[in-house]
Structure formats: C-alpha cells, structure tokens
C-alpha cells in the first residue's frame, strides 16, 4: 500500500464567498407586571421591533410573556446560545443590546495574545538560520 489517507472534514470559513448569519433566533422575554420590564414593554408598544424584524429577515423573533426579570435569549449556529439580562433598561438600550448580539458569532469571548489568527500557513514561511548564505552566517 503506497499511501493511505487520513479522514478530515473541510474547515468552515464563514464569510469566504458566502456569509450565513450565525444568529438564527431571538426570544424576547418580558413580564406584564414587573417594573423591570417597563423598557421592553415600551419597545413592544412602540412598534419599533417590527422595523428591526423586517431589517433582519434571517432571524426568527419570538416574544414570550413570562414572570420575572426580562431577558433576551439568542440562539446561534452550532447550538450556541447567549442570554442577556435587560432588567431596568430603557427602550434604546434594549435595542442596542439586541442589535449588538444579533451581529455576534455566539462564541465565548477570549483573549488572543498573538498578532495574527489564521487557519492558513504563513506565505513567507519561517525564517531559518540554516538557510542564510555562508558569508552572512554567525561565526563562533
């Protein structure tokens, strides 16, 4: 057997020649009675949510009435989800939270201590001291 293969799956590169929004569902949960839901009740009454939903046609908007503090739950691709507490926030702040999180990838935030993050190899390669021409080498 000359050469065998190793099974791999092709890596996803969302945004290379096609882009699919990772966020696919938003649940807006509010309470009809509690004071902390005042902002979201204002938002629902104002009809501003209709405009947002029309702009974001690729996201399913769901409104749920439940007791307790209001929250926004976002569902992302690959079963990732995020919950945002919007208790005591006013209308404009809730809209900002909504727009911010719809654009998010749903991944956990993390610190990256390197200059480049890429799934591709460096085009130039790594500098090697062993390939420097003879006269320029370090002499002991």
């Amino acid at each position: 057997m000359p050469v065998k293969g190793i099974a791999k799956t092709a890596l996803s590169r969302n945004g290379v020649s096609s882009y699919v929004l990772p966020c696919h569902r938003v649940v807006l949960q509010y309470c009809n009675w509690g004071g902390s839901s005042q902002g979201i009740r204002d938002l629902l009454k104002s009809g501003q949510l209709d405009t947002i939903a029309r702009q974001r046609e690729s996201v399913v908007f769901e409104i749920a009435r439940r007791s307790g503090h209001p929250k926004l739950s976002f569902k992302f691709a690959h079963d990732k989800s995020k919950e945002v507490n919007i208790a005591n926030l006013d209308k404009s702040e809730i809209v900002r939270k909504l727009q911010d999180n719809i654009q998010s990838s749903g991944s956990e935030l993390f610190k990256w201590n390197h200059k480049v993050m890429s799934s591709n190899e460096s085009v130039r390669g790594i500098w090697s001291p062993l390939h420097v021409s003879n006269e320029n080498r370090f002499k002991i």
Binding site: P2, V3, A10, L11, N14, L21, S58, N120
Partner: protein, 364 residues
C-alpha cells in the same frame, strides 16, 4: 456416483424452494410505496399509490422559520418556501411529500461539482486521498456541520407537547423532521449520554464512531436544499451555490497523507517518471553534531534538481521529512493557466483543457 448426483439434485431443489436465486440479485420496489403496474415489464405503467401532497405555499409562508432560513441562505425569490419545507421532511408516511427525490438530485450535483473540482485542481492526488477529500467536502459529517451552521432546527417535540404549549402548527414545517412519535419520547435526559437506535448501533465502527441519525438527516436536508435550488433555478445557480457554500471551505489536504515507506515510494515515483538521474538524499546544512540541540537540513535531489527539503533533529528525521516534502509537492501540484489564474473547470463556459491528467498511483 449416481447416488451422490441424486443427492446434489435433491439439495438443489430444496435450496430453490427456500431461496429462489432471483430473490438475491433483483432489486424490488419499496412495498411501502404501494407501486402498481399493468405489466411488470411495462415501466411506463409503474405508479406509486401512496398518498402525498405538497405543502401549500400559503401555509409555508406563515412559518417564520422557513422565511428566515430562506433569507439566511439568500435563496432566490423563485425558490418556493414549500420546496424548502419539503427539503426538511424525511418522514415518508405523513401525507406530505418528503425529500427523497431532492436528496438524490442534490447528492448527484454535489458529487459532480466536487469531484470535477478536485480532479482538475489536484490531478495527481492518489486515489485513497482523493476519495477522502471528496468525503471531506460532502461527507455526512461535513454536511451535518453545514446544516448546523445554517441554523436548521430539529422537530423534537411530540404532538401532545405541541398541543400543550399551543405552538402554531406551521412552526414544524420549518423544522427538520425525521423522528417519529415514539423516537421523540425516548430522548435521554442525561447530558452527554445518547441512546443509539438499532441502525445507529449497526453503524458503530472499530474506532467507536458512528453516524447518528441526526447527522444523516441534516446531511440529507442540506443536499435536498441544493437539489431544490436546481429544480427552481437550474444549473448555473446550483453551481455557484455549491462553490460558495461547499467548495469555499478549507480542505486540509496536506494533513491527509499517511506514508508508510516514503523513501521507497519516492524512488518508485522517480522510476515511473523516468528521471535521468537517481534520487539522492544530501545534507544541506547542520548546526554541528556536538551542539546542544543539533538540527539538520536534508534535501531530496535528482541530479542538481532539489525535489524537497526537510529539517529534523536527527539525520533520519531530516531525511524522512525531505522525502515526504518531495512526495507532497508532487502529489499536491495544482495547475495554473497562462495568466496565473486557476485553470477552468469542465462545467465553465468556453472550457479548454489546460491542466494535466494524473499518471496514477505508484506501487511499492
């Protein structure tokens, strides 16, 4: 002798009675489709009597999941939501048309465009790696991943649960439907623990991996969506969809080779390609044998031509890396056209063959 012949004949007749030979090799129509025909040889008269109907477009329009999925994939206007809903339906016996045909269509289109791309772009790929590369682009696991990233949801609630939560009926038309009522109830409640069905158990391989029914269902839905695009928009749109969603993924081809005897393979390859001079491994540079961490650079040469180069911390390692590098640079060759762009594919307009045809694998 005569006695033995009689026995054989007797055994033969028994066998014939139990399992007629025709049972083995003749494909029979699926009995659940209730196929009827005037005469078995008159294929035009074959007709399935199972009752199915397509979801009315007005019902499909009311499903927010379908509208959102349509928009998320930026499908053209002509792609009807009822087709999208059909692509997500794998259940045969509910009266609604399922995705069997769309799936077959999508699979055929996918395998054409993926293999065309690989054969033209990587003409020298060895057969085992080529097959795995096709799997890497359009295998069940990859399509499952794509289906998940498109945000397709599975219909996991039973009819009773739907009734109790007052969920509108058309919500389920936008979900992936492959579980029957009994399977939905037996959902395991423990996170990370899965109860395998009988068919999943039979697909468990030696390395303890198996294809879950969910993965197969997602893959089938993705293929069917592609098949649906072909039925509504035709070949050009399907091709560009496959190129932008499937072939735009990064294929780690350099990690997909496993050489057992690389040096011998390189020598055989050189023989096959009729190189004028023998293949030699030469030392190019080293840090010195007595340095604390010795490094060596070896090169695989054919006369004055360097075929490959490798760095290693022992002579043997450097040599093997050099040989593997030479083999990979041969196998992963990708032709470019005269203006430097990738060569045209057979399905492109005014295609003229530019690349090369691979010479086949070498034997060791």
């Amino acid at each position: 002798m005569l006695q033995a012949m009689k026995e054989i004949r007797a055994i033969g007749s028994v066998c014939q009675r139990i399992t007629p030979a025709s049972f083995y090799h003749v494909s029979r129509p699926d009995a659940s489709l209730k196929t009827t025909y005037d005469s078995i040889k008159d294929y035009g008269s074959y007709k399935n009597n199972i009752f199915t109907h397509r979801l009315p477009e007005s019902t499909a329009e009311q499903s927010p999941l379908l509208v959102a999925l349509h928009s998320r994939l930026s499908l053209p206007k002509s792609y009807s939501l009822s087709t999208l809903s059909q692509a997500l339906n794998l259940i045969k016996f509910e009266g609604l048309a399922n995705n069997f045909g769309l799936n077959t269509l999508g699979k055929t289109l996918l395998s054409y465009y993926v293999s065309e791309n690989l054969l033209i772009r990587y003409p020298r790929l060895p057969m085992p790696v080529h097959n795995l590369a096709i799997d890497a682009y359009m295998g069940v696991n990859t399509l499952y991943d794509i289906g998940k990233s498109w945000g397709i949801e599975v219909d996991t609630t039973t009819k009773l649960e739907k009734h109790l939560s007052q969920e509108p009926e058309f919500m389920r038309y936008g979900k992936l439907r492959f579980l029957d009522e009994s399977a939905k109830k037996s959902e395991s409640k423990e996170p990370g623990v899965f109860e395998l069905t009988q068919e999943e158990l039979s697909s468990v391989k030696n390395d303890n991996t198996y294809l879950s029914r969910e993965a197969e269902a997602y893959a089938s839905a993705v293929r069917s969506i592609i098949g649906g695009l072909y039925t509504h928009e035709g070949e050009e749109a399907t091709k560009s969809f496959i190129h932008s969603h499937i072939l735009s993924r990064k294929l780690p081809l350099d990690q997909m080779f496993q050489f057992s005897k690389p040096t011998r393979e390189l020598v055989r390859l050189a023989e096959k390609l009729q190189f004028s001079e023998p293949v030699e491994i030469r030392l190019i540079a080293e840090t010195g044998r007595l340095s604390s961490h010795a490094m060596y650079v070896a090169g695989a040469f054919c006369g004055t031509d360097k075929l490959g180069e490798g760095i290693g911390s022992s002579l043997q390692e450097a040599k093997t890396r050099a040989v593997v590098n030479a083999l990979m640079s041969y196998y992963l060759y990708s032709p470019v056209s005269q203006d430097g762009s990738p060569v045209k594919l057979p399905s492109d307009n005014d295609y003229k063959f530019e690349g090369i045809v691979g010479g086949g694998d070498v034997a060791i």
